[in-house]
Each structure stands twice: as C-alpha cells, then as structure tokens.
Symmetry: C2
Subunit: 474 residues, 2 copies
Amino acid sequence: MRTHLIVAAIVLTVATAAAQTAPPPVVAPIPAAVQANVDRLQTAALGSDLAYDIVEGLTTEIGPRLAGSDAEAKAREWAVAMLRRNGFQNVRIEPFSIPYWERKVERATVITTHGRQNLVVVALGGSPAADVDAEIVRFASLAVLNDASPESVRGKIVFIDEPTNRTQDGTGYGAGVAKRGQCGMVAAAKGAAACIIRSVGTHSHRFAHQGGSTHPRTAPTAPSAAVSPPDADQLTRLLARGPVRVKLEIGVETRASAPSGNVIGEVVGRERPDEIIVIGGHLDSWDQGTGAIDDGAGVAITTAAAKLIRDLPRRPRRTIRVVLFGAEETGIHGGIAYARQHAGVMGKHVVAAESDFGAREVYRMRSRFGEGAVPYARAMQRALSPLRIIAGDNLAGGGPDLGPMRMVGVPMVELSQNGWDYFDYHHTPDDTLDKIDRAELRQNVAAYATFAYLSAEMDWDFRKPAETAAPAAR
Amino acid sequence: MRTHLIVAAIVLTVATAAAQTAPPPVVAPIPAAVQANVDRLQTAALGSDLAYDIVEGLTTEIGPRLAGSDAEAKAREWAVAMLRRNGFQNVRIEPFSIPYWERKVERATVITTHGRQNLVVVALGGSPAADVDAEIVRFASLAVLNDASPESVRGKIVFIDEPTNRTQDGTGYGAGVAKRGQCGMVAAAKGAAACIIRSVGTHSHRFAHQGGSTHPRTAPTAPSAAVSPPDADQLTRLLARGPVRVKLEIGVETRASAPSGNVIGEVVGRERPDEIIVIGGHLDSWDQGTGAIDDGAGVAITTAAAKLIRDLPRRPRRTIRVVLFGAEETGIHGGIAYARQHAGVMGKHVVAAESDFGAREVYRMRSRFGEGAVPYARAMQRALSPLRIIAGDNLAGGGPDLGPMRMVGVPMVELSQNGWDYFDYHHTPDDTLDKIDRAELRQNVAAYATFAYLSAEMDWDFRKPAETAAPAAR
C-alpha cells in the first residue's frame, strides 16, 4: 500500500511537470463582437422552450411517423408550416421514393406442457411474413449462432439472447445491434425457420425494440422478431426445463415504392449564401412510440438553434440550412437522397452536424476537420465550455444521415449527448414526450446555436490541411 | 433564527425528560428456547432462496393466471404439487365458482385532423363490450365528473385524467383507485357512451393498468378502459388543441360460472392442531403480466416461511395454515369462500396475515389485536427488529382476502412492505420476475417466519380484551 502511494506521488509529480511544460493547445481567436453574440445565443437558448414546443407539437399532432407512411407525409406538411411560421427562408420539400415496409400484426406464443403464454414481440424492419410453429434453440450471442451447425437449427427458430451493455456513448448499442441486422440472413443460411432476438435495449420492461434488419431480396432470409428483455429471460428459464415450442406469426405490408422526402429551411447567409452549414435531425420514426427522443428531439433542437440565430440583429455570413431528413430508420434514405441531390455542391458544404441521440445533455464536442482546422474546433470547444461541454477528439462520426456527406469529405461536428438511458426508450412504445427534460433540451439548443453560429459567422475553413495551417493566436 | 434555536432547545429538553419518565411499553416475554428458534429461522430465511425459487417456478411454468381460467386451474395443480414436495400436510384444494370475465381484445384510436394514433389501453375488469366512436370530454378527477351535468357528457366518452400519488404505504393507490371502480357506473348514469381513465399507477411508461371495476347487472353501466399515463398526457395535449374523437373497441368473454379454488397446505400443530395461524397470498393474477409481484411473491414468501418452520426440530404447538387464495383480483372470491367454508371455526383462527403488496422489504409490523394483547404485538415487533422492521400501530388492515375474516373478529397482523415502486408495475404487463430482488424476498420470509412461529408456539390470545389484561413482564 505504502509503495503504491510513493509511486503514485512520483507519477503525479511527473504528470504535473509535463502539464506545466507542454505547449497549450492552439485555439483560434474569436472576436469580441462574435463572442458577444455567442453569449447572447446561449442566454436566449437556456431561457427558451421553443425546442420543447416543437417536439411537443410534432409528437402530439402527428405522433408516430413511419417512413413512407401517410403520417410521415403529414409530418412533412407539418414541418413546412412550422419552419415558415418560425421565419425560415427557402422552405421546401425535396422528395424521394423508398421501398415500403409496415408491420401489420405480430404474435408469439410459447407452448409448454402447462399451457400457452403470450410473448411481447415486434417484427423487425424488413422481415417477411411468418406463420411458424417450431422448437426454439437458444444462442448466447450472434457469434455462437455463427458457429452452430446447420443440423442443430434446421427447421427451428433460433433465439439470440445477447444483451445490450449500458454505456454513455452508445457503444453498447453498436455492439449489440449486429444480431438485429444479421439474424434473418444467418438463420436462413443455416436452414432455420425464423429468428427471435432479445431486444436491443438496456431496460427491463415488457417492450420489444424495433429496428431495421437486413433482408436482401437476392438471398434467402428468415422472418425475424425481437422479444422484450423480460420475455427473453422467460424463454431462457423455460428452456432450462426442457424443449420449448413457439408459434410466431408476422403479417407485413410491403410496396415497391412509397413517397418520402427531406424538409429544408434556411437562414440565408448575408455575405456567402452559397456556403452551407447543415444541421438537422430526422423526421420519420418507428411506429410503436411517438418518436420523441428518436428523433423529434433532434428536429426540435436544431430548428430552435437556427431560429435563435435568425433572431440575431443580423444574419451570419454563411447559410445555415436545417435539414429534417425523411426515412432514416428504414435505411438512411433521406441522408442518401440529400447527398445525391446536392452532389454538385458538396464542396460548398462547410460543416454538418446531426442531432439523433435523444434529448439528454451534450457533454462533449468532437470534430472531424482537416488537421489544420483543429484550432477552430478548440475555439468552438472553448465557446461551449460554459454549457459544461468538454473537448473531444477529431474523430467525430456525425449523425447517421450525414454518413454519405462524410464519405465525400464534408467536415463534421458531433455534439455528443449523454446516452446513458437512451436505449431504455429508443425504438420502443415508450419513446414518448414525457421522457424529455426541458432543461436538457435547452442546453442542446444552446450548444447547436453556438456551433452553427460560429461556423456560419467566422471565416473558418474546416477542411484546412495540416501543412497549410498558419500559427493561430491563442 | 436565534429565537427558534432557543425554543428548539427547550422543546428538546422537555421531550427528553418526557421520554425518560414515560413508562416503557409493556412487552410480553419470549422464553430463551423460543427466541433461539426465532434466531434460527431468521438466519435460515436470510440464507435461503426457496421463496425466489417458488415465484420463479410459478411465473415461469404457469405465467399469467386469470381468475377462473385454465391457467388458474393449472396453477392450483402446480401449487398442490409444490406444497407436497415441500412436506406440507393436509394439502388440498377447496373449490368454489366465480363469474368469469376475460378481455379478448381492446383497441383505442384517436382521430384528429392529422390522422389516427393508437392508444395503449386495457379494458377494465367486468367491462361490457364496446364499439364506440365519440368525442371525449376530460375531467381532472372523478369528483369533477360527479359534479358534471348529464348534458355535458351525453353520448360522449368521459376521460378521467386523475393521477396516482406515489406513497410508501399504498395510500396513493387507495385515493386514485376510486375512479377505476366507479367510472363505468357514473358514466352510464349520466348517459355517457363509455369511460376512459388515466391508468392507476405511478410510472410513466406505455403500460395500461388493469383492475376490477364495478359493473352491476342491475344498473346501467358503460364500457370502461384505462389508458397508459403517456397516452393520457397525449389526450390532454390534443384536447388543448380542440375537440378529440376516440374510437374505442372492447371485446370480452363472459361466463356465468367458472371454477376457482383455494389451495391449502399445513404445518400441523404438535399440541393444538385445531388452532390455526393463517398466512398466505393469492394464486391468481391479472393477465397482462405474469403476476410476479402481484402476487407470486406473496405465495412464495408465506409458503417458504411455513416450510422453514416445518424444518425446525419440532413443529410449533398450533397449526400454521398456508392459504393460497383463488380469484382475488376479480372480487376477493377466495377470501369470501374461505371465510364461508370455515365459518364454524373462525373462533379457532388465532391470527392471520396476507402478503399481497409486492416483494420489497418489510419496514413495519402492525397488529389488530384485542387491547390486552398489545404486549404480544410488542414482543413480535422486538423479535422483528433485527430485520429492520419498526413497530406500527394496532390498526392493521390485513390483506384483501382476510377482510371477511377480519369482519368476524379474527386478529390480524400486517407486515407492511415498502410500496414505493409497487404501482410502477402492479397490474401491468411489466409485473414480471425481474422486478423481484432476492435479498428483499429473503427478508420477507424471515419476517413471516418470525411472526408465524411466535404465533404458533406461544400461548398468546390475540383477542384478549383490555380489561382482562394481566400485567406482563417487560
């Protein structure tokens, strides 16, 4: 114990000395007048319920907004009216088409020697219809199923009981979601009749977690559904007693083509209107809940942030474009359509950030800039620090709809939200307005307003490569 | 501030003096050999998962156990086998008949100018079938509806949005549940087409809370259903925007008579086998969840407690009778049947306690004894204090199935459980095994074993009136 203390003291001394001698990070300067506007925006955001009112309106008046559905179309009309009411310019819908899939019915019943029990299930996005009555075979993870012999699962229902780890940054979801995407294909490849997965999610409530899964038309695929975590536990306990039969029924409606679209509104730049800052969220939702945290919140946060910037005495130099993407949940269709429709002007897209991780506080800002532009990230991080946001790395992913833009080199910012309880609600019937805290939503608006305003007002090139970086004042 | 401190100091001095001079409460003595068995029982209970295994078995193998259903019959068979396996004597079913009601389907859809939204609802116990499409009228409470004119609700669906307060002892439920029992009658009396209530419950999840409601055959009654709390909020928000129409469909199955029964097992007394200590819970459950906390836990706690007493080197003087009541949820049918079937020997029922308030720790022991028997309650409370159980008053209600026995003068004990989160799960799909904590269940078993053993071993008359009370040694 004593030895450890001495070592710790030495390490601490060395670390302190290193910190004292290391050069401070280079931070781009922000003029006082611009900083004054940042302060004004933050104060306004922290005192405004505009974002809450937007997500309240969307989730109340429209409710669930399945990609390609009539409800999603109503949500676009709603969003156009809302953007116009808030004084946005160039408000428009950029339409595109998507393949349509809707769950119409799903039922799962356990059949034991004592009788029948209903399970809480939801058909996974893209699943074919099913009417299967077969024994289930449990696998602790997708990896274990991958190793299983076809003989052991042929004609049966594979059951992947892999849990989801609770993490602040969503990495637990990333690890746990593979089974959702792949179970239908893997099951079919091994000759299984269907696939049931333990819901991707961190709660222990009787909610089954919806989400997309891969069901290619060109390869065999099996019907797939998720069971709630308590039902997954029930299956495991029943299997400990002997063979378990499940009757799984799934009814779906599919159409080759259905309408979707991105809704756009702008605060047009006063000097360089063709240079674009993109912020936004996605307008569609899965259909069990009302899509409050996924992603009414993102729609509301980014719209409210842009509206506050619009309300400044003068508009910033560049254009802030709010993009409310359509059909994210069923395949990032809106993000792909946007990148395609604006392919010719991607070089004019200065930077982009999507809010699509709930409604909790932002705790960190990450960037994905050219190495020479890191001082601009530092400047933003310094401006965000009064909001209790820490500096992150330069490896931001950006939101799901920004993937296609990121791949062609558009700089990204990620305002990382605390996702500790996001997967308690995400994609379940429980994604409703009551899960949103007004104060946390305000902090998000303040963060987006700060980032978007600085990006639009300052003469910063976020693509700046390392070799051209000029020394920046501290 | 200073004045307050002086006053506080004086009050404290007086209070301390009073405490020093007040006579100590009279506590009946417990012989060392008996206390040794109490210690042995508590140690055994705190180290045993028997109760957990019982509730695990019941909720896994049988699952939901609606009163009068095939599943409840299977649960009786299961309980008989379980009691025999655990060495109980005189294991038997005491059958009775009940009117049968089962919800087959329920759907509620809000119809707005923007489209339709599904609500999470459950038909209330006893509700007639419905196919209603009407405007809803909101009332903040049952009291406000009671004051409403028939003209204001005629042909409409009344919506009672009264919340449930979170309390440790369940009094919030008592206050909130009146609307569930009465809404169908009140609605019908005023000419309304149906009644929708905000779920009785303290959570904010998309679960609708099931429960009995009064639908007399001799008076007009309206179909009634509960909506989940987030859906109730949604209705209120929609109503703030204008009129709201709801389509409510309820399908039910009813039969005049269905079989139910109480399952009984005994640890027969070694000296006075005809003197009975009753402990138990109820075997039936509502059908959305698996009835883990309501009331698999009560079945498990009391059975495990009696089994531990049975395992002592010798059985206590009096008989401990475990009664697993049938059909509690739909009208306390099991408790009524028991009191009727044993009416001739109620005088031989020494004391009774039912565990039907979840699976959280016991924090208090209350009694309902003759005034002369209060020293016995004090003795029990002292014996329970190592389990962190405090002394309560002499106004115990006893559990719901004990009401008929209480009314004919059988002494009662209440081992009050912490009900802080009970109404987060109670009567919803979320009443499942994962909500039970093994350690808390063990503490319950220790408490019931202590109470039941002392009641069966000691020569205590809990009916003892005040005037005959002999001075008890401290």
